[in-house]
């Protein structure tokens, strides 16, 4: 069985590319929240819940939306056959710190439910699944660095041994100095269509190259 990478989106500080082409860039350097808000408006996401998310979820949601937008045929699929496989290095550390800060003053003790709810990294997948009613397999891995072999092998197993037909794979990391996202879509394909544009064979080497580009 063959599988192909049908679209991808990469976000690094102040710059977003989709399918290898520049999508959005800030002329001057901005803090991550401001950059993400500007990109949300530019990309016309029209999903007000975005503003309630923590930075990690915003990064993941934005990258996923832009990757999916570039891959129109996924909408026709049975949503129970779409899987979400994400990974990062820093788990939900950014929100964990915010929550710890919120509960550090015992005299002014008001833990925020909307901060606390993001103290798990797999909430990213929950947000994406809720928005698109995706109900297939999901997994979130923590690894020291971007691991294309892990994402490739896990999604391949899903495509080969379950009813999964489409996988949204990603690396979404948010920490003090390390903020980036790379989300790509993999679909089952028994043949590679001619003139298929940016579609690439699903291999760990191709995944690595796209991430490093």
């Amino acid at each position: 069985m063959n599988a192909i990478i049908s679209s991808y989106c990469k976000i690094v500080p102040n710059k977003i590319s989709v399918g290898g082409k520049l999508f959005f860039e800030e002329a001057s350097e901005k803090e991550l929240p401001e950059f993400l808000s500007a990109a949300y408006k530019y990309g016309e996401l029209n999903y007000p819940k975005f503003h309630k998310m923590d930075k990690l979820c915003k990064l993941g949601m934005l990258a996923t939306e832009l990757a999916l937008r570039n891959c129109p045929d996924w909408k026709a699929l049975d949503k129970s056959r779409i899987a979400l496989i994400f990974s990062n290095q820093s788990s939900s550390l950014d929100s964990d710190r915010n929550h710890a800060h919120a509960i550090s003053d015992k005299q002014n003790y008001f833990p925020s439910p909307s901060v606390f709810v993001y103290t798990l990294p797999n909430i990213i997948m929950g947000e994406i699944a809720i928005k698109h009613k995706i109900s297939g397999e999901n997994a979130f891995f923590i690894s020291n660095q971007f691991d294309p072999e892990l994402l490739f092998s896990y999604s391949t197993i899903l495509l080969q041994t379950t009813g999964t037909e489409f996988v949204v794979c990603g690396w979404v990391n948010c920490d003090r100095t390390h903020n980036d996202a790379f989300v790509y879509c993999v679909k089952k394909s028994n043949f590679k269509e001619q003139n298929s544009g940016p579609e690439l064979d699903h291999t760990s080497e191709n995944i690595r190259q796209l991430y490093n580009t």
């Binding site: 808000s37 007000p48 503003h51 309630k52 833990p111 439910p113 909307s114």
Partner: protein, 86 residues
């Protein structure tokens, strides 16, 4: 504090506390439902509203059954706050 003043304050506090970036306080209809069709708040927002009352008005909602009626709209929230301030 008059109910109208509480309503005005609550609208600002709700927008801030719930990060409703695309909503202006003055756009909130005091009688519109907070959940469902109105502002479209969710269960986490409900918890934030409980924190909001505690933080800003020192009002603790002890009985969860009370919350549904209190958080029907900004108006019902303001009426509840006013009743506790008397």
């Amino acid at each position: 504090m008059e109910v109208q003043e509480i309503i005005k304050n609550l609208k600002v506090q709700i927008v801030e506390q719930l990060n409703l970036e695309e909503v202006k306080p003055e756009d909130i209809d005091a009688n519109a439902p907070l959940f469902g069709d109105g502002l479209g708040l969710d269960s986490i927002d409900a918890l934030e509203l409980i924190v909001l009352l505690e933080k800003n008005y020192e009002i603790k909602i002890q009985d969860p059954k009370e919350a549904k009626a209190i958080f029907t709209s900004v108006q019902t929230m303001a009426d509840y706050v006013a009743s506790k301030m008397k």
